[in-house]
Each structure stands twice: as structure tokens, then as C-alpha cells.
Amino acid sequence: MATETTIDIDRSIGDFSYPEQHTFDAGIGLTRDTVNYISDVKNDPDWVREFRLKALEVFESKPLPTHWASKDLEAIDFQKIRYYLANGQRATRSWDEVPEDVKRTFERLGIPEQERKFLAGVEAQFDSEAVYSNIKKAVGEQGVIFVGSTEGLKEHPEIFRKWFGKVIPTGDNKFSALNSAVFSGGSFIYVPPGVKVKHPLQAYFRINAENFGQFERTLIIADEGSEVMYMEGCTAPKFETATLHSAVVELVAMKGAKIQYITVQNWSANVFNLVTKRGLAHEEAEIKWIDCNIGSRLTMKYPGVVMKGRKARGEVISIALAGDGQHQDTGAKMVHAADETTSNIISKSISIGKGRATYRGLVHVPKHLKNCKNNTECDALLINSTSRTDTYPAITVRGTGNAVQHEASVSQVSAEQIFYMMQRGLTEGQAMSLSVNGFVNDLVRQFPMEYSVELKRLIDLEMEGSVG
């Protein structure tokens, strides 16, 4: 496989777009006026407007993090982006009320009618506003709040305000500041004490207008002893100019609570996906991020867990597939802030063609903590001779009584294996696909069934074009 191959991956799959009209449009560019416009349209309470305007100042004062991150960030022209676009529709609750073209989009996403019934609640985001919000009856009866973030901050301010911006402060990084200034959409979930949400809660996000960025803001609070699983999947139509996606997701797991957050990211190859995700785990709580990145031009995403209470647990399972022209800069952050906290990071990446997969990690065990454990494993698979992979972990351990280990390896698909499978009648593409699926199989199995099926299909699609 040392030979140069021309890669031609069919990126038209998932590319579809329908005409749309927007009642509200904040225009192109970002100023105080843009932020005020968003606040006006959304009828924000004063504290939210102030929060946004302050965040804009922070955003403007912060430089791009190119001293460590990709110079590709410089390609983003913040003044050419549309920060808010909505057709002004209210969140609808019945399937009949969902516009026909949106339904068609779901059809193309490959979610069969039957499977939809299984979805606990679908928060479908069409551009900035939720147009479809269906909370399964059972979930509502358990007292679970599952609404859009706009609705959440207005209708449940007493819970929302307590945690909003607390896990990820505005100034955490330039893009969390940007999100804090212009956020719209995203979910707000509250699970009452002791409630175990049986069905995963699910939301689909789409980008559907050129130059239109999505700035979702999601806040999930699992109260004492509760359990919830949230799934987020994205696919976006293909556009000619770069699109920016910058979400902020905050999770709060109270004592003994469990949160699983699953993402399958498949933005089109022109999207900058710069996301900040972090969870706060209290005593004996557990937060698990399952993160799969397949699409986008550049993704920078390092889901984190701050283990604040004794015996809290954090986990990140990460799969990244970097095709031609893509840079998946992903990883994890584990901050141990109490005794007996444990964290686990498993990352697998595949670089295809001229793709680049980067693992960036942070593990922090501060002073005077006892019996904290971290385990990190990063494996990278290189498909072509032009592929690239990087690993940049940063591990700080203070004091005795803790155990931290990090291991990483880089390998390639063995030529013998491919040869063997081709002898058995598989095409080279199929053989490659099988090898790659085998490489990530143990992680894919951790996804809910419909996601693992979708994931396998996506890997197949990517691998078909990887051999020439």
C-alpha cells in the first residue's frame, strides 16, 4: 500500500437540499446588532441578552487557537456567516404538522417509519428552530422535561439558569464564547430523581442553508440516581462555501446519576465543526460520551468529564474517520477533582487518502487526591501512504496514590489480510471495509443498534472509494 492512489470518494451521498423560506434572518456577519436581533426574535429574557452580549465581547477578544490547533481555522470568515435563520415556526408536536419537505429529508436520512416509533422523542432541528418535537408519552409522564433550549430557559428558568454556562463558561474557548453569543436551538433535558429513562432521547440536526451556521446549546441535567441516554446525529447537505457549526453541550449528573451522550457526526466536507462538550459528574455519578466523527472538513471536539464527586466516573469512546481533505481533531478531557474517581478513554481513528486524524487529550489529577485512575488507549489505522495521524496527549499527575496510563499505537491494514479476503471472492473495497469495521467493531458495539447499523453503512461508503 505504499503506492500513491487517487482517491475519489463519492460525497454526494447525503447531499440534498430543498427550497426554503425564512421569516427571520439575522443577515450576514456578526456585530452587537446581530446578537440583539437574535435576542429580539427569540424574545429573550434580559439576563440572556446580557449573557449574549458579554459573550460576544469575549469572542472578539480571544485569538484563534492556532498556536496549537490547525491553521485551517484561519479559513473561517466570521463576517461571511449567517448567525440566525428561522422560519418562525413554533415547535410542533404532531407528525402531521411537520412540513412535507422536512419529512422527505428524514426519508433520505434513512430512518424507516417503523424505527421512528421506537424513538423515545424526536427533537428535529430544521435550521435554528425546532420544528418537530415529540416527547413520547411515557417519558413525559415520568416527569422528564425534554424541550428546546429556548423553551427550557423560558419555562424552567429555576433549573436552567442554575446550570447554564456553569460546566462550560463563556470564556472557556473562542468557540464556546461564539456559541454563547448566538446560540439557538439544541435541547434542554431534566430527569427527575430516581427516574430511569428507558428509551434513548434523540435529536437530529441539519444544516440547510448556505453560509448558515448552527449554534445549538444543549443542557442535560440528570438528578440524583436517574439515568438517561441522549443521541445526536447529524448529516448536512453539501454547499460550496464553508459552513460553521459550533455547539456547546453541558451535562450535569447529580449524585449517582448516569448520562450517556451519543453523537454520530456526519456533516458534509465543507463544515467546520468546532464543538465544546463537557459533563460534570457528582458523587458516584457516571458520564459517558460516545462520539463518532465521520463528516466535516475540520472537527475539533474533545468531550470532557469533570469528576467532582467521590467515586465519579468518566468515559469517552471515540471513533474518527478522516477521509480525503478531512481533519478529525478529536479526543477527550478528563479532570479528576475528587478521590477514587476513574476515567477511561478509548479512541480509534482511521485515516483514508489524504485524511488526517488527530487525537488530543488532557488528563489532570491534581494534588492530594487518592486512588484516582485513568486509562487511555489510542489506536490509529492508516489506509493510504498519504494518510496522516497524530497523537497529542497531555497528562498531569500530582502526588502519590493515583494510577495513570496512556498507550497509543499506529498500524495499517495488513496486505496479507486483504489478499486473503480477495482470494475468497471479496473486492478490494469490501475487504478493506471488513478490516476497518473489524478495527472499530468493539467500539461500534457500544452504540445503540440503529446507530451501529448506520455506522457500519457509513464506513462501507467511505471505504468503497478508498482503494484505487
Binding site: 490509529a380 489506509i383 493510504n384 496527549p393 497531555a394 500530582r398 496510563q405 497509543a408
Partner: protein, 448 residues
């Protein structure tokens, strides 16, 4: 006395630099006529870049986790001559190994003694000279290697300062096919409070030659403060074998930087080890460039950090050609409020296929106030490679300790034995009994 390099005004300014601080005047070598014009030109260039380049900042990725505020070098004075009495005392103290092929002793960048003890080192073609002599007598080969390696791990500014101030050091050239059995040892002393030194080692191992070199860095006064800014560049031509050991034992009030490049040619084999014992802040930047197929570099380090010492180690395993191998093992033991930083990168350039690279850092924390930072990195731009890295941080196994206590050892002794065993694994990799014994004695002395 026209130099043609600097203006009369500039020279005037340099001469009237009453404080004699390294950051104030230009290099005094500008006025040193022992040096050829081209060398003085280099020094002047070094001085210019030193002035132009910014000081490392906290936000520089290359200085992440480092206490950059401790890098204030404004108060150190230029290297001053050492009194005669001290000179003879230092010569006497400058013996570590019984049998050596040769030895040089420097104090404050001044050559005190040069000995050639083995016949091999007298062989035709061997050059074992202080830099000031190599500059004139072996200008061609010296010039084509001196300070030619790009400084990529963060200390460009300090490398420039070194270039400006360097006035002595070792130049060792081993001609092809010659094997020097016994090690060569070099002492670098720093004498006087608030002084500075710019030790330099330039080694070229010719085709299929073999040589072992040990650099020792010592302060005459354990309580004197100082600044050390050294460079060691090692070149291995085709099939050469080199063992290089760098023993850093400056006083506990010394700010030290050591910048290394090891260039490994085709089928050549380098084993290098850094031993960190002294200094308040010691930074080492070690780069192995594998520039020929079949080359291999073993990069080793042992650091015993205690008190408030900070050891800041940055490494690069740069695989530029196919079929090259590198294996890095760094071990740190940390007591008291010590800090260590390890930032290592394995870089496999495009087309450097069949690279085999390994990198491992292990931290043994002995105190609740100690802090170990590890940043093991990989950048792989080729396929058909085998690259792995690992980092662990942990403490002494209580069961192991308990076992030793139950055998009647004191807690302190048991701990020392465990730490020694932990570090000795690295020392054994150097595979030289004499050096191993000497280093073991050094470690025990530091533990005591």
C-alpha cells in the same frame, strides 16, 4: 584591527558594557582575535537573533507546563577566568572513569586540561581538540557541522545566545573504520556566583567508526547560582556507532538548558542518555534525526527530581527515511515538590515507510506535592509503520514496600532500592559497565 563585522560604535558600546552581563553586551569573542572572521561573524549573527527572538511565553506550545518565569537570565554575568588554584583543584576532581581514551576539562568555558591516554585516540585522522583550535586548524569540517542543526523544540533564542557566547568546548572527529574502545570524558565546570557557561560538544563519528563520549556538568560551589546554556551536536556517518552520556549535575541554584541534535546516517546506531541530577530548572531538548535507511537511535533519560527541582524534557524522533528505528525510554523519579515535564514527539515524514518507533515515559511519584506532566506525541505521515508510545504515572507498590520492610529494611532504604531499581533499567540499556557503575554511584549519592 578592522573586523569588518561591526561598526566602531557598536564595538565601543560592547566594550563599555560595565556590568558584563550576558544579555547586555555582545559576545566578547568579537574582540577575541583567536577566532577567525567567519566564526566571529557567526557569533554576531547569534547575538542578533538572540536580541530579535522573543522570550518563551506561557502560551507557547513548546513551553507548555514549563515555569517560563524562571527563565529570567538578565542577572547572569559572562564567563570569567578561573583562578589558578581553583584550576588545579578542578583538574584533580575531574575523573569519573578509571580507564578513558582521553579527557578534557573546562571551567567557565576555558580549557584547563586535555589528555590523550589511549593509542587509538592518537591514530591518524582523529581530531580531539578544543573548539578554539578546531576553528582554525580544522576549519572546513568544523564549519560544515557547527551549529547547522535547526533548533525545533522551542529554544531557538537560547541556541542563538549560545552561538553568540560560545568560546570553547570539544571537537571530536573519529575517522572511518576506527573503533575507540575506551570512553572519552569531558568535564564542564561552572565557577563563581551568578556566572554563566556555554558548553559545547561537536562530535562527528566517521563511517563505521565507534566511540563513547561522556559529558559531565558540574558546579564548583553547590550554593552558587548560575546559568548554563549548552549545545551538543552528534553526527553519525554511515554505519557509525556512538554511545553518548550527558550527566547534568549543576548546583541546585542553576538555570540550565541543553540543546541536542543527533544526526543518524545510514545503518548508523546511536545510544544517548541524559542524566538529570542537579539544577533548579533544567531543560533538555533532544532531537534524533534519522536521515539514512537502516539508522537507529536509542534515546534514554534518567531524572532524579527532588526539592523544588523542575526537569523539562522535550524530545523529537524525526524519521526522515524509510526503515529507520528509534526507541525512547525516559524515567523520572519525583520527590518533595519536584516537577517534571516530558513532551516527546515521534514524527514519521511522508515516505519514511517501515519506520519502527517507540516512546515511553514513566513517572514514579514519591510525594504528594510532586507533579509529573507527560505529553507523548505522534505525527505519522507515512504508512507501513509501527509506532507506539506510552506514558504511565504511578507510585511505589505498597506490597513491594511491605515485603522489603518485613525483611528488616528501613522504609527509607527500601524506597531507595525500589527507586534505584526503577531507574537502573534505563542505565543498563547503555551497556557499558564502567559508565553504569559510575552512574549507579551518582544516583546513590543523590539519594543519600
Amino acid at each position: 584591527m578592522s573586523t569588518g563585522i561591526i561598526s566602531t560604535e557598536e564595538r565601543e558600546r560592547l566594550n563599555h558594557d560595565e556590568a558584563g552581563l550576558i544579555v547586555m553586551g555582545g559576545p566578547d569573542a568579537l574582540e577575541n582575535h583567536a577566532f577567525a572572521d567567519w566564526f566571529r561573524q557567526l557569533q554576531f549573527e547569534g547575538w542578533e537573533s538572540f536580541q530579535q527572538l522573543p522570550m518563551p511565553a506561557r502560551t507557547d506550545e513548546a513551553w507548555r507546563f514549563a515555569s517560563v518565569k524562571s527563565l529570567d537570565i538578565s542577572a547572569y554575568s559572562r564567563p570569567l577566568p578561573v583562578p589558578d588554584a581553583t584550576q588545579s583543584e578542578l583538574i584533580e576532581r575531574s575523573v569519573a572513569l578509571h580507564d578513558v581514551a582521553g579527557r578534557m576539562v573546562f571551567a567557565n568555558d576555558q580549557l584547563l586540561k586535555r589528555e590523550i591516554l589511549s593509542d587509538t585516540l592518537r591514530s591518524k585522522g582523529v581530531i580531539f581538540e578544543p573548539i578554539e583550535k578546531a576553528v582554525t586548524e580544522h576549519a572546513d569540517i568544523f564549519r560544515s557541522h557547527f551549529m547547522t542543526q535547526d533548533v525545533v523544540l522551542g529554544s531557538k533564542k537560547f541556541a542563538a545566545l549560545h552561538k553568540a557566547w560560545v568560546k570553547s568546548g570539544t571537537f571530536l572527529y573519529i575517522p572511518r573504520d576506527l573503533e575507540v574502545e575506551l570512553p572519552i570524558e569531558i568535564y564542564h565546570w561552572l565557577h563563581g556566583d551568578g556566572g554563566s557557561t556555554f558548553p559545547h560538544t561537536l562530535l562527528i563519528a566517521g563511517e563505521n567508526s565507534r566511540v563513547t563520549l561522556v559529558d559531565y556538568f558540574e558546579s564548583t560551589d553547590e550554593n552558587a547560582s548560575g546559568f548554563a546554556c549548552g549545545v551538543n551536536d552528534l553526527f553519525l556517518e554511515r554505519g557509525a556507532k556512538l554511545t553518548y552520556v550527558n550527566v547534568q549535575n549543576w548546583s541546585r541554584k542553576t538555570l540550565a538548558l541543553q540543546i541536542n541534535s543527533t544526526v543518524v546516517g545510514r545503518d548508523a546506531n546511536a545510544v544517548s542518555m541524559n542524566v538529570n541530577l542537579g539544577a533548579s530548572y533544567a531543560r533538555s531538548e533532544s532531537v534524533s534525526r534519522l536521515v539514512g535507511e537502516g539508522g537507529r537511535s536509542d534515546m534514554l533519560a534518567v531524572s532524579v527530581a527532588e526539592g523544588e527541582q523542575e526537569f523539562d524534557q522535550r524530545t523529537l524522533q524525526d524519521h526522515q527515511q524509510p526503515n529507520t528505528a528509534s526507541d525512547l525510554l525516559y524515567k523520572n523519579s519525583l520527590a518533595d515538590k519536584a516537577r517534571t515535564i516530558f513532551a516527546g514527539l515521534i514524527r514519521v515524514e511522508p515516505h519514511a515507510h517501515k519506520t519502527d518507533a517507540y516512546q515511553k515515559v514513566r513517572n514514579l511519584l514519591l510525594s504528594d506535592d510532586a507533579e509529573a506532566n507527560s505529553m507523548p506525541g505522534l505525527e505519522i505521515l507515512a504508512d507501513e509503520v509501527r509506532c507506539t508510545h506510552g506514558a504511565t504515572s504511578g507510585q511505589i507498590d505498597e506490597e513491594e514496600l511491605y515485603y522489603m520492610l518485613s525483611r528488616g529494611l528501613t522504609r527509607q532504604l527500601a524506597q531507595q532500592l525500589i527507586v534505584f531499581g526503577f531507574l537502573n533499567e534505563v542505565i543498563e540499556r547503555v551497556d557499558n559497565d564502567a559508565i553504569g557503575e559510575h552512574l549507579a554511584a551518582r544516583l546513590h549519592r543523590k539519594f543519600a
